[in-house]
Symmetry: C2
Subunit: 281 residues, 2 copies
């Protein structure tokens, strides 16, 4: 798997890079960013995965996430993938809507044409990209954690629930917790996966928990001034599912915060400290 | 002076706002950002001015500067103006070059047509915007400091050298220190100010120092991997001028850092701590 370096800049003592590669999973070129903090020669560092939300590329969190100081402090590699395949021949929303198609891959493997040709983000995030990270960076793949925002919070929760034991810590900012039950997810799942809702359950965090999937604990921050809170996010739905399943969910309603990177960046260092404690233990 | 709020988001416990107003100085609408940290009712906070570099608007540092955590910690208001007038009727570089015209106001009052009609950034930054900040925000204008990047480093140095006693701290990231002697400044000053170099001296940090202007101390960080270092920035020129004038310059050559916000954000918290110590003393 050849990896092309798009850019690399020294930052907070480490290197913030952006990379491209030909993805077998999506059949497209994919771009992602990796921050590697300063480290001893030969050392292998824990890896934090960050999955982004609707409309984002790797660039949003890379530029606005305020994660590098904390990653440098704790010695964490930070990986930020794109949110969908892109490029010539990749089907998009017929109306160009922001919540489906390009920038809105929902971290699933589509089964419906024409999306099934390239929208294979589950396989990309769960299999292909981890192998590439393990090969190309000083990553200790026995010490991984995952976090995400909104659609990426959905991604972090569902990827970790489907892969028990892979991640030592799981957290999210304003996640979509039950996509099968809200407009964003209903639209996307119907088009990517078809009308049969039994195929949706593997991509629904609350559905997975109710079907028996378990994580030891989850940290979620949710802004009370988030315009998507009531219609799309509904964190109480996750709280109820976790309570019934005995999952230790810490749900913090953050007064006055919205859905933006101003919210994410305000709590990023706190999340990374929480991850670091679990990755180093 | 009416102020329109473009956006406001809670961040790091405070409010990150973007504002627009009709500027008398430039004869245009001007946009700027202000971060106000959480504070006691009625309290007045010190103000840090941040002047941006070529091609930037207020948005670059607002999104990528990683200043809010430190401003919240130290209780500092952070003001980020635009770098030029913009809008219908504002003359630009005839070739659309990045280093002159829109996004490249050089914090001066142009005297040459057609630029003299709107390019009055010195008056805007030194007089009009401070009055607006004092009126609209909980700002203690007796405790101000200033910093900037590249062209904005030039701005921070020259504004502070021309206004002795106004700023308790002055620092810069990769500043243009002698614009009269480098291609960026020679191009801009000839077009904004005309061919007579005696009119340039008031906008040249090294020229101002050599003409007798003084600051007690200056902090400068400069990346050694900055592609503009040798041709446009030349920090040793400032070091020589400060040494001859008895100005306490701390010039830190930062190994491997480039000219980007990855560099700025790496040292932003350190600069703000340095400012805070002088603003609170």
């Amino acid at each position: 798997m050849a990896l092309a370096q798009v850019s690399a800049s020294k930052a907070h003592g480490g290197v913030q890079g952006v990379y491209r590669h030909a993805s077998a999973a999506t059949g497209t070129e994919m771009e992602f960013s990796v921050f590697v903090p300063d480290h001893a020669p030969g050392a292998k560092l824990p890896v934090v995965w960050y999955l982004s939300g609707l409309t984002c590329t790797q660039a949003n969190v890379t530029e606005k996430g305020e994660f590098r100081a904390a990653c440098a402090e704790h010695g964490l590699i930070f990986v930020a993938p794109d949110t969908s395949p892109r490029g010539d021949g990749v089907a998009d929303d017929p109306d160009g809507a922001y919540d489906f198609g390009l920038g809105a891959g929902f971290y699933l493997d589509a089964t419906e044409a024409p999306f099934s040709a390239h929208y294979r983000m589950r396989h990309y995030i769960e299999d292909e990209l981890p192998a590439l990270i393990a090969e190309a960076f000083p990553a200790d793949m026995a010490r991984q954690s995952i976090m995400g925002h909104s659609m990426g919070g959905h991604g972090a929760l569902t990827v970790s629930l489907r892969n028990p034991g892979r991640f030592r810590a799981v957290s999210a900012f304003a996640p979509i917790v039950a996509p099968s039950e809200v407009p964003w997810g209903e639209k996307a799942f119907a088009r990517y996966l078809g009308p049969d809702r039994t195929a949706w359950a593997q991509y629904d965090a609350c559905g997975l928990i109710e079907a028996g999937a378990r994580l030891p604990e989850i940290l979620v921050d949710q802004g009370t001034a988030d315009g998507f809170l009531a219609e799309q996010l509904r964190p109480q739905r996750l709280a109820d599912a976790c309570a019934a399943a005995g999952i230790d969910l810490t749900l913090r309603m953050q007064e006055g915060y919205d859905h933006s990177y101003y919210f994410i960046s305000s709590f990023m260092a706190d999340h990374l400290g929480w991850h670091a404690a679990r990755l180093k233990g």
